[in-house]
């Protein structure tokens, strides 16, 4: 059986959708089709991929308009009787074909204060932590940095607040640090002033596209928002702070 894939070709300035028809078989994912087209018909078709098992987060794309990992999208979940469109992530500048410049994410991450543990609990330099206290953090650390959540976030995608807002991925990263029971760094001020957490209006689009099923909005962003509110807008706390300063 054959299927047609309508793939965006070209650089950042000029691009067009090009149709490729290729043989498909049982169990194939979109990435298989793209690689098959690459090795047979279009050797210079650029796309990123590595593990092909949903663990590295390299092959993010928009498949029939939906942000997905190409390696985890089975063809039997798509209407293959019609051309399947494959486009690069829209929130980032296009380098070539399906490859986008995601370097912004790496730059922003550097601005987030790194992990800073409390002094070790035991003389041998180790800590004691209960599993139930890290379950939440481990959920956040499943993140494979595919940046699909960044891609779909309207604050970035539509409003282009790249200078003011760090996006869901990096809020999840901050949450993993803030909720780590060993960490003693304070990032609450940064969240409010530099990371633009207030821009998130909880539409939960990020949660919907997360291939690792991380409950980004409910478990990471909303609790962080609450911490910001507690820190800056709680009248009792502000009063206490005022006295402490003296």
């Amino acid at each position: 059986m054959e299927a047609t894939f309508r793939i965006r070709r070209g650089d950042g300035e000029h691009g067009e959708m090009v149709d490729y028809t290729t043989e498909i078989s049982e169990g194939m994912v979109v990435l298989d089709a793209v690689l098959q087209i690459q090795s047979g018909q279009a050797g210079d078709l650029a796309c990123r991929w590595n593990c092909k098992a949903g663990k590295c987060g390299s092959c993010s794309a928009e498949i029939n308009g939906m942000p997905k990992l190409m390696c985890m999208t089975r063809l039997n979940t798509l209407p293959v009787e019609e051309p399947i469109t494959i486009e690069p992530m829209r929130a980032f500048p296009i380098e070539k074909d399906l490859v986008t410049d995601v370097s912004w994410n790496f730059e922003v991450k550097k601005r987030i204060k790194p992990f800073k543990p409390r002094p070790p609990d035991a003389p041998d330099g180790t800590w004691r932590v209960m599993q139930e206290d890290i379950d939440r953090v481990q959920e956040f650390r499943k993140c494979i940095e595919c940046f699909l959540c960044q891609d779909v976030c309207h604050v970035l995608r539509d409003h282009e607040k790249y200078d003011e807002f760090i996006g869901p991925r990096l809020l999840v990263y901050t949450a993993a640090l803030e909720m780590n029971p060993l960490d003693i760094e304070d990032r609450i001020g940064d969240l409010r002033n530099d990371f633009g957490i207030g821009f998130c209006n909880i539409t939960k689009c990020c949660t919907k596209v997360c291939p690792e099923n991380i409950t980004i909005t409910d478990n990471a962003i909303i609790p962080l928002k609450e911490r910001v509110v507690d820190e800056f807008y709680d009248p009792v706390k502000r009063l206490v702070k005022l006295f402490r300063k003296k």
Binding site: S25, Q38, S39, D44, C47, C51, M72, K96, D97, N180
Partner: protein
């Protein structure tokens, strides 16, 4: 010289998986300037695929464990052709390297008393693998990455090294190209560390990503460094076999560590049929004892499913060949059966093996809490690589270091699961430390413009030709050759055939043509990778022919037994003056008495 942008660093690290990142962090901590070259984006290296854990004798779960047991397990698993000094250093230093990760933000699964939890794995006598569910590699690489970005390391993403640069005998940098615009870059360095991982892409069925093309092995070889143990390839017993598009993707040994069992089409648990004498005393002789072991019973011995990978892979092959395989040419791996033993089995499996649950559900429409998985061997790891000094990780070329999978020695003829992640931490650190020392003691070398010009010209040649060979097609042919002729079961005749085929492919590779321009061009990249794959394929085959015995990752149907004489040597590969591949047997140095004693005591 062609007008190329030049970057200068004290230490240049090639490869940004676990070993490269750990090396870069260490070198940077020593106060030298460090450049880190990633073939892909930072944090996407093949280390993310490591699932089960990192082996370190911390004795958090079983207090009988210590470095001596770990050392002896590693030597036994490697069938005693390991570099014993590396095995010793590894066993002694792994616990500190794991604890250090915690200090840098890794969040490991915990024991009931709040320590780092450790799990059972093949060939390890006690529960020894620190882990995070079944995504330990991701945790490791992310921890190193997030720590590393604050250490002043200069990171070059999507850059591929084409050749190492030399000044006399000494390695003094590398020529590379950046993928986005295909531009060449000269990296000058006082010391260079290779951390490029494995060679899995030489085979058709592999757990490795497209990056595993033996770059470090080939770069080192072409520069004149020595390789050893190239015949020892690890075929992981459990890769996915169905559907075809996912064939080879890894199914973690952790499934068996959590109680998963292997069965043939007759429903028989065949691993009890063949337990090697070396492991008889350590292995359960009935299913109940095996189950108790996986549940932490200290008096029970481990089930035969947790024998070493080389052995389990061969047993699976035997079942398939005897017609007792599953419909798609594998056998069954069953974790669902534990519901007979555990009331909350479904939840337990999802909690302990979340990625496996997810992977099968999404890619194979199969619920592993209900149905057994179909699995078969997949090319996973190469024990062989750049020959290095155990303590410093320097190769036989001054200024060139290697760590992780592309270096050789610690694993001998077969690597134990979980020893890879600890290997790359221990020896990544050592490589970084000693490369920094070397860089401080030496000045920068002189780049030979002619070498650079020639390398650039060679690399661009595929664009000049009209209507030559398709690089993807050649790579596929090479993969078929290695899979069919130099795979799990080997014979001299087939390997001679493979050498001939590889030779022909090499000739054809000189006529490769790539379409399009130099901007982010996968065909071009594949053409460059192909040179490396051909070099390592030849090395694997020649070494495998030379070792006329069966041991660990090498199984010779024409020499099915172990031969004590071959137990005393490693096979060394070096480029001869005339450009041909030179094979030499080198004696393994005598083990010091105290290490010998440890091995004897451990039985």
């Amino acid at each position: 010289m062609t007008d190329l942008t030049t970057y200068e660093h004290d230490v240049l690290v090639i490869g940004a998986g676990g070993a490269g990142l750990r090396a870069a962090i260490e070198a940077s901590a020593a106060g030298v300037s460090v450049g880190l070259i990633c073939k892909s984006l930072l944090g996407k290296a093949h280390t993310v695929m490591a699932e089960g854990g990192m082996a370190a004798a911390m004795a958090n779960v079983d207090d009988r464990d210590n470095w001596k047991v770990h050392f002896s397990d590693t030597m036994r698993g490697g069938q005693y052709v390991n570099n014993w000094r590396m095995a010793e250093l590894h066993a002694k230093e792994a616990p500190d390297r794991v604890r250090e990760l915690e200090a840098w933000g890794a969040v490991f699964d915990r024991t009931k008393d709040g320590k780092i939890l450790q799990r059972n794995f093949g060939g390890h006598r006690y529960p020894r693998l620190a882990h995070v569910g079944d995504r330990t590699g991701l945790e490791l690489i992310r921890t190193l990455q997030d720590h590393g970005i604050h250490q002043g390391i200069e990171v070059y993403m999507e850059v591929t090294v084409v050749t190492l640069l030399k000044d006399g005998d000494r390695v003094i940098g590398a020529l590379a190209y950046e993928r986005e615009h295909g531009r060449f870059r000269v990296f000058k360095a006082k010391a260079v560390i290779l951390a490029t991982g494995g060679v899995g892409r030489a085979y058709k069925i592999t757990s490795n990503s497209w990056e595993g093309t033996g770059d470090g092995h080939a770069l080192a070889y072409r520069a004149g460094a020595e390789l050893i143990d190239m015949e020892f390839i690890q075929f992981h017993p459990t890769g996915m076999v169905w559907p075809p598009s996912v064939r080879g993707i890894l199914v973690t040994e952790g499934v068996r560590g959590e109680g998963g069992i292997l069965k043939n089409s007759e429903g028989k648990r065949f691993m009890f049929d063949d337990i090697p004498p070396l492991y008889k005393d350590q292995t359960a002789d009935n299913p109940e004892e095996g189950w108790l072991y996986t549940q932490g019973d200290k008096n029970a011995r481990r089930p035969p499913e947790l024998l070493t990978r080389d052995h389990v892979a061969r047993c699976i092959m035997r079942e398939v060949k005897a017609g007792r395989g599953s419909p798609h040419g594998g056998v069954y791996l069953d974790i669902a059966w534990i519901k007979e033993k555990l009331p909350n089995a479904e939840e337990h499996i999802k909690k302990k093996l979340p990625s496996m649950y997810h992977q099968f559900k999404q890619l194979a429409d199969l619920d592993i809490t209900i149905t057994p998985m179909e699995v078969g061997p997949t090319t996973h790891y190469i024990m062989g690589g750049v020959r290095v000094d155990a303590d410093t990780q320097m190769s036989t070329l001054p200024g060139l270091f290697a760590a992780g999978e592309c270096a050789a020695g610690i694993n001998g003829a077969n690597r134990l699961g979980g020893n890879s992640l600890s290997d790359l931490l221990v020896f990544g650190k050592r490589a970084g430390e000693h490369a920094a020392i070397y860089a401080k003691e030496n000045s920068a070398g002189m780049v030979d413009d002619r070498q650079v010009d020639q390398a650039v010209k060679n690399a661009l040649a595929p664009f000049e030709r009209e209507g030559g060979e398709n690089p993807f097609a050649l790579q596929h042919e090479l993969q078929d050759t290695m899979q069919n002729l130099v795979g799990i079961v080997r014979t001299e005749n087939e390997m001679r055939q493979a050498l001939e085929d590889v030779g022909k492919l090499k000739e054809r590779s000189e006529h490769v043509h790539v379409p399009g321009n130099i901007d982010f061009n996968p065909a071009w990249h594949t053409a460059l990778d192909l040179n490396n794959l051909l070099t390592v394929s030849e090395a694997i085959t020649r070494a495998a022919i030379e070792r006329k015995e069966s041991r660990g990752g090498q199984y010779r149907e024409d020499y099915p037994a172990k031969d004590a004489e071959f137990g005393k040597i490693n096979i060394k590969i070096k480029k001869a003056e005339d450009g041909s591949m030179q094979i030499t047997r080198v004696p393994i140095p005598e083990m010091p008495a105290e290490l010998k004693q440890i091995i004897e005591e451990m039985g």
